[in-house]
């Protein structure tokens, strides 16, 4: 009988009764509300049925009430009068804005369904949670592993250390800085990365491990274990509560196979090598006064940074070597502040930008020169136009490297293609699907250096928020009869979800899972030497049973 009294009562206001319309399929709703007493109310928003609703609520004997209704000011505003009549404190009432969702997503039943289901399940879970009145904060030391020491990785490590975490920074190369450490690529970025690296070196909370290539990870939030190969080829393992992937990208040459052997054809990194020693005879001889073609993003699908890099190189060739430069691209991608000016200056400096309309130019190499055939109907040419060049540069495009792909696959993220993480709608761009993992910098999207830093601050902020414990779902239960009161769980929990409770009748303090902060990672369950902890899944019966048996649940 008592258990029944505990099941939540759900009030559906008529304004949300429209829910039955879209899609027709209400199985999900029935599943989400399994075990609840449900009542449809004609107009809770109007407050007309308040008395009969209160009577019904008293009859069900329920002590937790979920209202599925409309937005603030309507259904929600009746919660406090209702709580007075039923004699339950307002915290026992929760509310889902079904009507707001319906107005925004009713057109797309699939999205509406997903959002409502998530909201309802979440609220029900929260209601079953018990917020502790007087627990002490346990002391524990959260840690993080950051993979990759490019600008994003360095900045994240620094920000996390600033927030009080112990950070291990794994870098495959023997120096910090990633791509931006190559000054030819982007001098301003190189300066930035030097500054951040200098701060890292003096930070006692960051342990930097160079020559460590990470390619595997096990575990979950609170207890990740990352495998990295050190420079002697031996595996090393690094444990942490949180994982940040900041592995950037590797470049992929776009030089067509049939041109690869010609000395007149270079990929952009080969050009960068030449530019790095500009006074050397090789660079001078080949670049001064030459006719140069730069091919970037011929299909329009490459990252904006590819086009941007091509522009920067073109400008340098033009200005420092008096070269005559033509850039071939599908779109001039300038969509970031400041790039419009760069693009304008480029053209004013005398670089020709040819926008491709029908795929890449057709190149042919002969007699120390390369000829290009380009279709340019929009400039009035019916036939392909011919150009000749001394040198053709193909801008490299980007992809994830193999180690990053296996690393991501291990945690269930899609690791193929150019960018890490599936396209998923998250409030935060940097939070990966599985809890406790963040993707920052250019491994996750096409970003400017300053955006990489923003990613870093954001990921660090998110970690801090998680540690400060938001309201989340109940998942762990303690069997008091088995608990040895060793408090191992308190120490291993990565997000302060297991805390210490002192009971005057007991000699030693007990561990209590803090429902609101638990992410369900299971770290404590795995660590408990007495096997007293259990992870309850959120699926209806199992959870309720677990809550009934253990102490992680609702108490009156």
């Amino acid at each position: 009988m008592r258990d029944e009294a505990r099941c939540p009562a759900v009030l559906f206001c008529e304004c949300a009764g429209m829910l039955s319309a879209p899609g027709g399929d209400r199985d999900w709703l029935a599943a989400a509300l399994a075990g609840c007493s449900v009542r449809q109310v004609r107009q809770l928003c109007g407050g007309q049925e308040l008395d009969s609703v209160a009577t019904w609520l008293k009859q069900t004997g329920s002590d937790r009430i979920l209202v599925v209704g409309c937005h603030p000011g309507w259904c929600r505003d009746w919660l406090s009068p209702l709580s007075r009549r039923v004699g339950l404190p307002p915290e026992r009432f929760r509310w889902v804005d079904a009507r707001g969702e319906l107005e925004a997503f009713g057109r797309v039943p699939e999205i509406l369904r997903r959002r409502l289901e998530r909201a309802i399940r979440r609220q029900l879970a929260l209601m079953t949670a018990w917020t502790p009145p007087r627990w002490e904060r346990a002391r524990f030391e959260p840690t993080a592993v950051v993979v990759g020491a490019g600008l994003a990785g360095l900045q994240t490590a620094l920000a996390l250390a600033g927030a009080g975490l112990q950070v291990t920074l794994l870098e495959r190369q023997l120096q910090l800085g990633g791509w931006l450490a190559l000054p030819a690529a982007y001098p301003a970025g190189a300066r930035l990365v030097r500054e951040v690296a200098a701060q890292i070196e003096h930070n006692p909370r960051v342990r930097v491990l160079l020559g460590h290539r990470a390619d595997g990870v096990t575990g979950r939030l609170g207890c990740f274990r990352v495998r990295a190969w050190n420079s002697t080829g031996a595996p090393t393992f690094h444990e942490a509560s949180f994982l940040v992937v900041a592995t950037g990208f590797q470049s992929r040459t776009t030089v067509p196979a049939d041109l690869a052997e010609y000395p007149q054809v270079l990929s952009s990194s080969q050009l960068d090598k030449l530019l790095a020693e500009p006074t050397g005879p090789a660079a001078m001889g080949r670049l001064r006064g030459a006719r140069v073609a730069v091919v970037a993003d011929p299909q329009g699908t490459a990252a904006a940074s590819v086009v941007r890099g091509a522009f920067r190189r073109a400008r340098r060739l033009q200005e420092e070597f008096a070269a005559e430069v033509v850039v071939f691209c599908r779109h001039a991608k300038v969509d970031s502040a400041g790039l419009e000016e760069e693009y304008r200056d480029l053209r004013q400096a005398g670089v020709t930008v040819v926008k491709l309309e029908a795929g890449p130019p057709v190149f042919r190499a002969a007699d120390g020169r390369v000829t290009a055939q380009v279709q340019l109907p929009s400039l009035g040419f019916k036939e392909p136009v011919s150009f000749w060049f001394d040198l053709v540069i193909f801008a490299e495009e980007r992809e994830l490297d193999a180690a990053t792909r296996t690393l991501l696959r291990d945690v269930g993220l899609q690791g193929g293609g150019e960018y890490a993480g599936r396209a998923q709608l998250h409030r935060l761009g940097v939070r990966a699907g599985p809890a406790g993992i963040w993707l920052v910098g250019s491994c996750r999207d096409d970003l400017e250096p300053w955006e990489c830093r923003l990613d870093a601050w954001e990921a660090a902020g998110d970690v801090v928020e998680l540690l400060a414990a938001g309201d989340r779902q109940v998942l762990v239960t303690v069997d008091d009869s088995r608990c040895a009161r060793c408090l191992t769980c308190v120490r291993v929990c990565g997000h302060r979800a297991v805390q210490v409770e002192r009971d005057p009748d007991q000699e030693r303090p007990a561990a209590r899972p803090l429902a609101a902060a638990c992410e369900g990672c299971g770290a404590c369950v795995a660590a408990c030497p007495a096997g007293a902890l259990e992870l309850a899944s959120l699926s209806g019966e199992g959870l309720r049973a677990a809550l009934g048996a253990g102490n992680g649940g609702w108490r009156r």
Partner: protein, 410 residues
Amino acid sequence: MVTVDVVVLGGGAAGLAASRTLLGRGYSVLLVEKEGHTGGRAAGYACKATDDCQQCQVCLVADEARALTGADQLKMLVFSSLKGVQNQNGSFQLDVAQGPICVDPQRCILCGRCVDACPAGAIRLPPPGFPPASASVDPEICRARNAQTCRACVEACPTGAIDLQAAARTHRVRCRAIIVATGFQPFDPRQLPRLGYGRVPGVITAEELERRMRGDPGGLAAFKRVAFVQCVGSRNVTLGRGYCSQVCCRYALRLAARLRRDDPGRRVAIFYMDLQVSGKDVRMRWEELGRGVELIQGAPASIVAGEAEVLVRYEDLRQGRVRQEPFDLVVLSVGMGASPHNVELARLLGLNLDPHRFFATQERGHGSTSRRGVWVAGSAAGPTDIGGAIRQGRSVALAVARQLEDRRHA
């Protein structure tokens, strides 16, 4: 005198995100909003989902707003703006002027009867989910038209929430940090008469399309041929707007996809200079967009009224002659510009503006300004999309929290 930790100016995506983060960290916040409700520009925009979510991010603003309901450390002043600032050794004393609040938010139940009753159209309900949950009376429209003789709304209100005699007030506020998140102003295409906006029926801005699509998507059914014109008020040096607004290609492509989904037989064309889509966006959208939507390179020369249609004149470079094509609806993809009030606000707060009159920050994306304790977030600092505004709001809030903590320890 109100005392809070942080004052956030502007309740758009950036301001909401900043407030939420600060409240989460235990700081008290006063949100000052110029309009009658929070949410900013994007509160009126449409979800652009087709059969799938298109990740236009518009719903993220509502999520930020909803997260604020019930926060007891939050105070909110609507119809308010900053009038004076004094710096007193490390803290600020602000004067905030608030227009008359004619509807008591405690009593309003958002039934909308006042809206129906008002003969002047001066009363509006907030879009669902954006606090404060209260109707608002625009005093300018109401009083000017009715000289205080009309009481239609007062009589219609079932809860007696309306008081038309309410007076304007000034609040004195003390705070320790200020976040400027006052947003942007879309370009007014009347400055480009050749595009026909305001003269040719059937020429609208993308913002108007967003509103109509949100409010009444069915009403768009009559438009079988729709053209988008990109870079209206962006990348135009002669107008002093020589920058890319960064959002227009993305929203136009998504709006186009939504229009085609609502009516697959519809013709949708986009006139563009360069398509500014990159990164994950390209991977997700390029192929399907290529299929359904006509992409035409080149900006139209002029837009004129036809008999029952809108005629777009453009140079068809492929065929080397000027062509004219009929459309039912022409959407001008207006760019993002600085708000005209930035000059005054910068003077009050002692901030610098960049050449395009956005607030200058010391570092891109970070939001600190030349004035200690004053921060900038979101599109007030330059064009950015909703995700960008939210991210900036959050990271600025965290930086502010750090600064406040440092001082607490000191």
